[in-house]
């Protein structure tokens, strides 16, 4: 069928609907490497302006680290640009396996398999490892990629209320007739910045004979004393059956992800996970860069320590200024505004003040839970945060929201 006027009109109506609902997303063009200060063209065609970036996943500040860039250059020279193959045909180089082994050591698991992204790892895992005799019991706030992956699996789907261990226990009791039970959670929840109760979850898993899968994308490299992740922070190293995580955030931020965990589960992914089987091997340049990242963070905890300090300092500044925050102890600090329009306008005002942050609202977060999600980085220096808080204060004052709690904020928006 040709792309007729009627077809075009139909799509245009859909796009207008997205715009009318205030959900239209626009890219902002960045003319510099990723860092705590970036050069941004927004709106498209306007002059480029320098901003403090407080919304990237560059937690360890390694996205543009000179040693990572040098290692990536060396990898490009020695192993080439692309593999032009999936892994199991002729796409696996020695460095792919070396990176998998290094990730296994770092995460304290039995084996690891690289995927093009963690989205792909989550999309592939459940279908490869569980079937109609099994049940998947997920926290209701898990990442969209886990939801998609679960939908592709024949196993029964169930959910428990966010971080509610009593509810999870009820579900585990209810599903004792299943062959395998798998508890599924994010390690750090990307929108709220809170951490899963992994110690309690592991205890329940042992009591009710279940496996545990954690997506630690917003934790690997910096949560826990040596940055292993939420399993280190919660004292359950070696007890998580599957960790999925990404190279696209703290670990250099390029792309790539993995499934790491029990040897047999990883092997099932190697044999059956479709995103692994049917997409190209991770590019050698990224593998070489990621190996250097693991070497750097294995040698010192300096970066994750600085990140921890930055997050505490930033949380303190926002609280002192009178913003309503989601509680937490991670580098994700959501500033709650509750109203979608206010969140959008607040982000726009911040940009005018030289701070790049984004408003999040339904459907990314529940209705009435709109916010500015701020994310800290080890690349932030104290002066970046001091400048950023001055902008937040100024915009907060302009909007008349400093010192207001949820009720007052909502009432103010309704007025």
């Amino acid at each position: 069928m040709a792309f007729s006027d009627a077809v075009r009109d139909s799509y245009q109506t859909d796009i207008e609907g997205i715009k009318a609902a205030g959900l239209f997303k626009e890219e902002r063009y960045i003319h510099s490497p990723q860092s705590s200060e970036i050069e941004v063209e927004f709106p498209v065609g306007s002059s480029i302006r320098k901003c403090i970036n407080i919304c990237s996943n560059n937690y360890l500040g390694l996205s543009s680290h000179p040693e990572v860039i040098a290692a990536a250059h060396a990898g490009l020279d020695s192993r080439g640009y692309g593999m032009s193959s999936v892994r199991f045909i002729c796409g696996t180089q020695d460095i792919h396996r070396e990176l998998e082994n290094q990730l296994t050591n770092f995460l304290g698991t039995e084996d690891t398999l690289l995927f093009p992204s963690c989205m792909d790892a989550n999309a592939g895992f459940f279908e490869a490892c569980l079937n109609e005799q099994d049940v998947m019991i997920a926290d209701r706030l898990v990442h969209a990629s886990i939801v998609d992956g679960m939908r592709l699996s024949k196993a029964m789907q169930d959910t428990f209320k966010h971080s509610d261990m009593g509810h999870l226990e009820e579900k585990l009791q209810e599903h004792q007739d299943k062959r395998f039970r798998m508890i599924i959670t994010d390690g750090v929840f990307s929108m709220d910045g809170d951490m899963a109760k992994l110690a309690e979850m592991v205890a329940l898993a042992e009591r009710y004979n279940a496996m545990v899968l954690v997506d630690d994308s917003h934790a690997t490299g910096f949560i826990g004393k040596t940055g292993r992740g939420t399993h280190e922070h919660c004292g359950v190293l070696g007890k998580i059956d599957v960790i999925t995580t990404t190279l696209g955030k703290a670990l250099g931020g390029a792309s790539g992800g993995c499934v790491s965990g029990r040897r047999e589960l990883v092997e099932m992914c190697r044999q059956r996970a479709r995103p692994y089987l049917f997409s190209n091997a991770v590019a050698p340049v990224i593998v070489a860069g990621a190996l250097k990242v693991l070497e750097l963070i294995g040698a010192t905890t300096e970066r994750r320590d600085k990140l921890e300090w930055n997050a505490k300092y930033w949380r303190g500044l926002l609280t002192e200024a009178g913003f309503d925050l989601k509680e937490g102890n991670t580098p994700i600090v959501p500033v709650m505004l509750y109203d979608a329009k206010l969140a959008q306008e607040f982000a726009r005002d911040l940009f005018d003040e030289g701070v790049y942050a984004i408003g999040f609202f339904f459907p990314v977060v529940p209705k009435g839970q709109a916010r500015i999600r701020t994310q800290l980085s080890a690349a932030h220096e104290k002066h970046h945060l001091d400048l950023a808080i001055a902008a937040f204060r100024k915009v907060g004052q302009k909007r008349g929201i400093l010192g207001l709690g949820k009720k007052d904020l909502l009432a103010r928006c309704a007025a």
Partner: protein
């Protein structure tokens, strides 16, 4: 409020309303279109109804629209209760 309506409403409050969320759930409160119940979590509601009332609701009928209010869910249960009885 009849018995099925009460059972469905109580289950929704227990299962989906988070602590501290003080919204009232009436027979016509939108559940899925309001974001209170996402289509993913709907599966546990479907399973609860099938178990409780010994019915089978086919995927083609278990649509987000059919599950959007307590009123519609109750109507769906009644429809399949009749079908089950009729098929015996």
């Amino acid at each position: 409020m009849d018995e099925i309506t009460k059972v469905v409403r109580d289950y929704i409050i227990r299962e989906y309303v988070q602590e501290g969320d003080d919204r009232e759930i009436t027979e016509t409160t939108p559940l899925i279109s309001s974001g209170l119940v996402d289509s993913f979590s709907m599966v546990s509601l479907l399973r609860f109804l099938e178990k409780k009332y010994a019915i089978h609701i086919p995927d083609t009928d278990a649509t987000p629209e059919a599950f959007d209010t307590v009123e519609r869910i109750v109507a769906l249960v009644r429809q399949f209760q009749k079908t089950e009885v009729g098929s015996v």
